[in-house]
Symmetry: C2
Subunit: 198 residues, 2 copies
Amino acid sequence: MNKTLGIRTGGRSARVQAAVHRAVRELLDEQPREALTVPQISQRAGVTPSTLYRRWGDLATLLGDVALEQMHPDALPEDTGSLRGDLLAWAQDYLDEVGSPLGRDLLRDVVSSQANDCPQRCAALLTQRLDRLLARAKRRGETPPAIEALVDAVVAPLVYRILFDPNPPTPEQIEYWLDACLAQAPRRRRRKSMTPAS
Amino acid sequence: MNKTLGIRTGGRSARVQAAVHRAVRELLDEQPREALTVPQISQRAGVTPSTLYRRWGDLATLLGDVALEQMHPDALPEDTGSLRGDLLAWAQDYLDEVGSPLGRDLLRDVVSSQANDCPQRCAALLTQRLDRLLARAKRRGETPPAIEALVDAVVAPLVYRILFDPNPPTPEQIEYWLDACLAQAPRRRRRKSMTPAS
């Protein structure tokens, strides 16, 4: 069985995962998240409850897994011609998805799911995606910031405000964080030893 | 009954809260968090389970409430003589408390507790405390950054890395974030309209 970050593929295992994820998404469309139960999901997906418990451990972890997949579709944002444009488009997409009340609940599921390193996988998927935008910028001849600097300066306040602030961040705030980060990029890269990758 | 952010005071209500919080803290010292149950807590605290449900709604919310109190003791860090020193001391305290495995679990409880606006109260308490450090700096004649800039540049990456990174942030990273924020302080304050308070 192939395993990639966050998404398992191959045979029966993949079919079970797809059916369960679909069942969760459908049920979330029909009723409040608090009302969701394991028996409901297993019935809708056509699998036994023990399959769910064996694979995900508990409901919070399953919800976190579904949330991860919804929050990280495979497609990269379109090439806008500049790193600044690409990152703004990415951040706006992220805010649209994760800044909504449902998205915020999904992100909370990810954070509170202790099993399977769900928060770490979420962060790793996000970093992978941003890395691809930075690589695209390099191919254009731009000098992008280090990925860690971008995470600290843009991703962290975006996620912090989604989780802890009554109001989601505004597009102006995101633009402000991004411009501050891009303005510092050359200096930051020379001082890379001061921002240890973790 | 007086109500302040995060802490209720007054009469029987306060006594019940103190007893329940103490019961949770004791039980957390004795056994893993996953093993904690409402009947256990109510027995230890000498209250009925329905008291707990009426007041906190569910176990996650109660754990979030206890976490909030543990994460936000009333004492301000000692005056180190400069805002930079005060903020470094605060951040190191915060990292010691919340960056530990137990602290990370407490923070996750806060994030996943939907009731009572627990995450917002957590952020508000943190902002109140930082505000007091900024006021102290002004009395010294320093020019502190805006609170929102400090939250975005230092608090957000600190909390993001505690929640999503396998390794907690290092003291060097915190120092780097803080120095970048302090270096920008005068410029940021002039451009305040670009960082709408939220």
